[in-house]
Symmetry: C2
Subunit: 123 residues, 2 copies
DNA sequence: CTTTTCAATTTACGCGCGTAATCTCCATAT
DNA sequence: ATATGGAGATTACGCGCGTAAATTGAAAAG
């Protein structure tokens, strides 16, 4: 079962949080970034529950929600499916594409260089 | 207007083709890879037309379809939106993520190294 | 005990997508 | 001229998603 775009925005709140959050806290956290009404966010929390991407523990009359799906897992499956679909499953062609498009900044380049060197040292 | 998953499969056929293809040829090309019935593919072609992602030119009683949206553009917008959403808009963190996940093969590593060196030379 | 309050759950609704059947129209054969 | 066949166009339909209102249910207040 896959996480939709709107659902992933809610996940982001939970991922950034230190601990479990009440629905009210999630709503508060999203007030800055979105125009979603409270019922909308409740719906998204429930859909995420049904997908087992989050868990809820009772806290008096409320529930506290926390992410069960780890952000790294989510990021990986999203990235992998794109790379599989568009770049034959390998990372280098993606980098090559951005390079050819002139979309690799100095910062990116420096960081990539560092990364590669580091990996080379390990090998 | 964005291209859906199923639509992108049709686009792939047109991108790989040397020239414009008839609907029949598209259907034939997809017979190996998908179980889609002919009307399904016609629907997808029509939706792509409506989105101006492809163009049709009359050829006697048929139409010949060809991609108007370039593959590079598509690949770029898909990749960019993922990188924006998940990696702060920069390529290096994506590579770092795959590296940390142990998902950079020898081949990837070698190719990345070559790429980086090449770019360094240009600079 | 009844009323109010408030969180969670249920229901709603339009839209695009995946999938496809049906309809329409024109050309060709009889 | 009419029937047939094949290509494109129209219509269909269930599903998840984005968005949210209405309902339920239980706790707190009076």
């Amino acid at each position: 079962m896959s996480i939709s775009d709107a659902e992933s925005v809610v996940m982001d709140v939970l991922w950034r949080a230190a601990g479990p959050l009440s629905a009210e806290e999630v709503v508060a956290a999203l007030a800055d970034t979105t125009d979603w009404q409270e019922p909308t966010i409740k719906t998204l929390l429930n859909r995420l529950l049904k997908k087992h991407a989050i868990v809820a523990e009772r806290d008096g009359k409320r529930y506290l929600y926390s992410a069960k799906l780890k952000r790294t897992e989510y990021v990986h499956s999203e990235s992998k499916s794109l790379i599989d679909r568009l770049f034959g499953g390998r990372v280098a062609p993606l980098v090559a594409h951005f390079s050819e498009a002139g979309k690799l900044g100095k910062k990116d380049l420096a960081e990539l260089k560092r990364l590669i060197e580091e990996l080379d040292d390990d090998a």
